[in-house]
């Protein structure tokens, strides 16, 4: 509702005059949508400052090669070309930063343009600046690079072997780091186990594919010494700091603007070489310069996700009680470290307790260099990998013990009264009711009916499967002690003299809808309408330093910062109101549009109070004029949303095709500000997780060429591929923040991948199929069926030990 009474769609109640309405929890239509649906919003590529030049990159066609020479004459001679630069010109910029420090971490030098060698296909070698885009791209083709190809390593297990090429000669090894997490008596757990269940599993390499590719536009005004950079980023403030370091300007001269950002999914939680080069070009050439990434570049040179090989073992008692978990994980990092590359596998280690009571655990991770693009944070960032390992091995264990998948899980959950629950990996889960969530999902999915259909189906030769996945994830990242660059967030609430409210948030939404949800929560606190709250984000000159949007943190950390700032402002409002009304601040009640005391006998209009704070003619002694408050919120812990997803599938035994015919998700992300937006996050998350399970895969061949590097080859889920999702929820507020919120951005992606794979393996278990590697393409499923039919049921589980380390001749299994 706006002040002139025009409806803007709180779907249930909520209008002026209804003083009881609370915006928190309302299905309010998004404030950001009108500009987006009209096509009048501005993404980075939509800006065109006067005199702007375009740039394009010449990129390496080789995965590993020595650069013998680069000839730029032809490119430079093309009419319309303004400049061509190679590494010898850009030695003053960079290096591309990595924020992670670990004791044995090998950090290769990572120049913004390839220097001497190229180490992955797509590595930038030269940059061309031209008057128009077409000319820039033509010229990029005219740069002649003489390469001497070098041996390539793309298989991470081979990369750790003896006779292997090294991605970085100076390290004399492709091992980038090791990381171990051990707690409890793991050896004893495995010794006394009645049963040990083991599985090797691959978490394939994925492309984040934000629909808006990356883009950078920079303009430099030498008189003002002001560099303005528009970048499609999730972290404008961190980027501002890094750009100042990359190009050597004082940070006060750099302004970063994240305008409309068309999706990120972690791929824009980074600092890329292009974000150093483009500003440098603008400074050097004295004209604005823009680079809009092509989709082909996006596949080759924007970070990838996942790519781990996992050896997982579970020690069990006969009755299904878990005694211990052991995992050895190889993580393919690609050729260089991007901002958080080595951190992601560590998050995987941390989340291996899942939502289960596991008395002993050991996770050993080896990070490996290969001649590929870097891996880094992709939606879920380490947690999907952990959840996949845990949920797959739970399902395999249940099958081997002849227990129902749901029953097995129920047996190993901590009880609600055990929270806060300290896991064997050292985390403190804030709050949860895993049992309630699972039972609700079973009911919603009509689980018993699905199992009945599965049985009767078999008689008719139909293969139905049911997949269960119970997950917990780590959100609201996070306490600063656990993050590389601060885990807090900032919020500033300013009531302008006219009574309109500006909220400045350090979070940097790019589709999540915080312009709406943050307005809802501030509106409740100040007793005003959400339409009167303007949420400003993504401009480092307007907003106090912040961290950004990733790790499902915006609401739980950024929202809480805004909430806390509002509390400070309320105290200030009460002080002034008390002064004006002649009462004590404690007597003031902030209501809708009015502050009252003495049970309503004394009151002042919100607008009058605010104006008097600015006119400042009648303020109490020591009262600071104006109406603004800032809070930097440091969370005391992560939050741990959880839930249960169940899906049912039918597998065509003749073709291997999988049809997901039902998908039920029960998620608990604590208190919910806007259920419509939460559901949207879950829908999208499920689609991405199913994308990994069913279709998506970045495949590099042995020469390091990316074979699935276009949208024709990389199979993203389309509308007709997906079922209608049925959502349910439970609400377990988090005690970590005053609003009791947890975060929901990644939940769907984390839960859905193992859910689908569990369902397909469940459908084929009667044949002896135990595991099929993702994505579950018909060919793979068909092969698994044929293989099982020809060899009969078999079990990998024994009481023997796993290989102590991967052998160099180990190969990716053929599914």
């Amino acid at each position: 509702m706006t002040r002139n009474g025009k409806s803007n769609g709180a779907s249930s109640n909520g209008g002026k005059g209804n003083s009881d309405v609370r915006w928190f929890g309302q299905k309010l239509k998004r404030k950001e949508d009108p500009r987006l649906i009209k096509g009048i919003s501005h993404y980075t590529d939509d800006f065109k400052p006067a005199g702007m030049l375009h740039c394009a990159f010449t990129r390496s066609p080789h995965a590993h090669a020595q650069i013998k020479s680069i000839r730029i004459d032809a490119a430079r001679a093309l009419p319309g070309v303004v400049a061509v630069f190679t590494a010898e010109d850009t030695t003053g910029i960079g290096p591309v930063p990595c924020a992670i420090q670990m004791p044995d971490l090998k950090v290769p030098s990572h120049p913004v343009l390839a220097t001497g060698r190229v180490r992955y296909v797509g590595e930038p070698v030269a940059v061309i600046v031209a008057e128009d885009l077409y000319t820039a791209r033509d010229a990029a083709e005219l740069v002649e690079v003489d390469y001497e190809p070098l041996p390539v390593v793309t298989d991470m297990e081979k990369a750790l072997g003896k006779d292997t090429p090294h991605v970085h000669e100076e390290f004399k090894s492709n091992q980038a780091f090791t990381h171990s997490l051990k707690n409890g008596d793991v050896d004893a757990a495995f010794k006394k186990a009645d049963r040990i269940v083991k599985q090797r599993m691959i978490n394939q390499r994925l492309a984040p594919i934000a629909m808006e590719t990356r883009g950078v536009l920079a303009e430099y005004l030498p008189g003002e010494n002001r560099l303005t950079v528009w970048s499609s980023t999730q972290i404008p403030h961190l980027l501002k700091t890094q750009i100042s370091l990359l190009v050597g300007l004082p940070e006060t001269a750099v302004r970063v603007i994240a305008p409309e950002v068309g999706g990120g999914f972690g791929s824009k939680l980074n600092v890329y070489g292009e974000e150093g080069i483009v500003p440098w070009l603008a400074m050097k050439l004295g004209r604005p310069v823009k680079w809009a990434e092509t989709r082909r570049e996006n596949f080759l040179a924007t970070i990838h996700g996942r790519d781990t090989i996992n050896y997982v073992e579970l020690a069990l008692k006969k009755n299904g009680t878990i005694l211990g978990l052991r995992a050895r994980i190889l993580a393919d990092l690609g050729a260089y470290h991007q901002l958080l590359t080595p951190l992601i596998p560590q998050l995987t280690a941390l989340m291996h307790a899942g939502c289960y009571k596991i008395p002993a655990i050991q996770i050993d991770i080896v990070g490996v260099f290969t001649n590929k693009m870097s891996t880094d944070a992709y939606r879920g960032a380490g947690r999907p990998e952990a959840t996949y390992n845990v949920e797959r091995i739970m399902d395999i264990a249940a099958h081997e013990l002849g227990m129902d998948a749901a029953e097995f899980r129920l047996k190993n959950f901590p009880q609600p009264n055990e929270f806060p629950y300290t896991t064997i990996t050292g985390l403190t889960y804030d709050s949860a009711k895993y049992q309630e969530s699972l039972k609700k999902a079973l009911k919603l999915a009509e689980y018993d009916n699905l199992r009945r259909r599965q049985k009767t189906g078999l008689k008719e030769g139909k293969y139905y499967g049911v997949g269960v996945s119970t997950y917990v994830e780590i959100c609201a990242i996070g306490p600063s002690a656990a993050t590389p660059a601060g885990g807090w967030e900032s919020g500033t609430v300013r009531i302008e003299p006219t009574g309109k409210v500006t909220l400045l948030t350090g979070a940097s939404p790019h589709g999540q809808g915080e312009e709406t949800t943050f307005a809802q929560l501030i509106a409740d606190e100040l007793g005003i309408d959400p339409q009167d709250v303007n949420v400003v984000h993504g401009d480092t000159m307007a907003v106090p330093y912040g961290i950004g949007t990733f790790g499902s943190r915006a609401t739980a950390v950024g929202g809480t910062a805004a909430y806390m700032a509002a509390q400070k402002l309320k105290a200030k409002m009460s002080t002034l109101a008390a002064h004006l009304l002649g009462v004590k601040p404690a007597d003031i009640t902030i209501g809708r549009g009015r502050l009252t005391a003495d049970g309503g006998k004394k009151s002042i209009l919100f607008g009058d109070l605010v104006l008097s704070a600015y006119t400042a003619r009648n303020i109490p002694p020591g009262f600071e004029p104006g109406m603004e408050a800032t809070h930097f919120f440091e969370p005391s812990n992560f939050t741990f949303p959880f839930g249960c997803h169940i899906c049912s599938v039918e597998v065509d035994a003749e073709t291997g095709e999988v049809k997901i015919d039902k998908y039920v998700a029960v998620d608990d992300c604590g208190n919910v500000i806007n259920p419509m937006l939460v559901n949207g996050q879950i829908h999208g998350g499920i689609a991405q997780g199913l994308g990994q399970a069913m279709w998506e895969e970045l495949i590099y061949n042995d020469d390091g060429q990316l074979l699935t590097g276009t949208l024709m080859d990389y199979a993203l889920p389309k509308a007709h591929c997906l079922p209608e999702f049925t959502l349910g929820s439970t609400v377990t507020p988090s005690p970590v923040n005053p609003m009791g919120v947890k975060g929901v951005g990644e939940a769907g992606t984390i839960a859905s991948t193992p859910c689908a794979v569990n369902a397909v393996c469940d459908a084929l278990a009667h044949l002896g199929v135990r595991h099929i590697e993702m994505p579950l393409k018909p060919e793979r499923v068909w092969r698994a069926i044929r293989q099982a039919q020809s060899s009969g049921p078999k079990s990998e589980s024994t009481k023997s030990k796993p290989p102590a380390k991967a052998t160099s001749n180990a190969r990716r299994p053929r599914a």
Partner: protein
């Protein structure tokens, strides 16, 4: 080398001398300054650049501007009448059919073509019709609901629609 073309864009005649290789999407974004049509892949695979050419959905990244000479093109900017949103725009807003918004103009224009051909599509029809458009945020469910919502509104008589606002 350059060729003079005239394209009617959202009801306005625009003439320009263009290179034969200029893509329609670049003409729309650069020459006509209509940046609501987005570029997601330049290979006609993502659908973000979908516009209507003579009423039919085309991917403007694989249509040359010269091919649109003498034709009429509608972009997302041409849908609303002043403050009055097109029912499809309204549908996307009401059903939360968008998150980052980047694919949205293409989704809306493709759906426009669908509803023109088939005013009352089933969910399955909608999903099939959108199979050339990629959304990475929504999981499509609310996009399907948005098109359904618009279809409902558009099948009502105009007077009833105005009254319902």
């Amino acid at each position: 080398m350059k060729k003079k073309i005239t394209i009617n864009i959202n009801g306005v005649q625009r003439s320009a001398e263009v290179e034969p290789r200029l893509l329609l999407v670049h003409f729309l974004r650069e020459n006509a300054a209509l940046t609501g049509t987005h570029i997601g892949c330049e290979t006609s695979l993502c659908g973000a650049c979908t516009v209507l050419m003579d009423g039919r959905a085309v991917k403007s990244c694989t249509v040359l501007a010269v091919q649109a000479d003498g034709r009429s093109v509608t972009t997302v900017e041409g849908l609303a009448t002043g403050d009055q949103l097109h029912p499809l725009q309204d549908g996307f807003w009401e059903e939360h059919g968008l998150q980052c918004g980047f694919c949205t103009p293409g989704m809306i224009m493709c759906s426009h073509d669908l509803l023109d051909r088939q005013p009352n599509p089933s969910d399955s029809d909608i999903r099939q019709a959108l199979n050339g458009n990629v959304c990475r945020c929504t999981g499509y469910q609310n996009i399907v609901a948005a098109v359904r919502n618009a279809s409902r509104k558009m099948s009502k008589p105009v007077a009833a629609r105005a009254g319902a606002r």
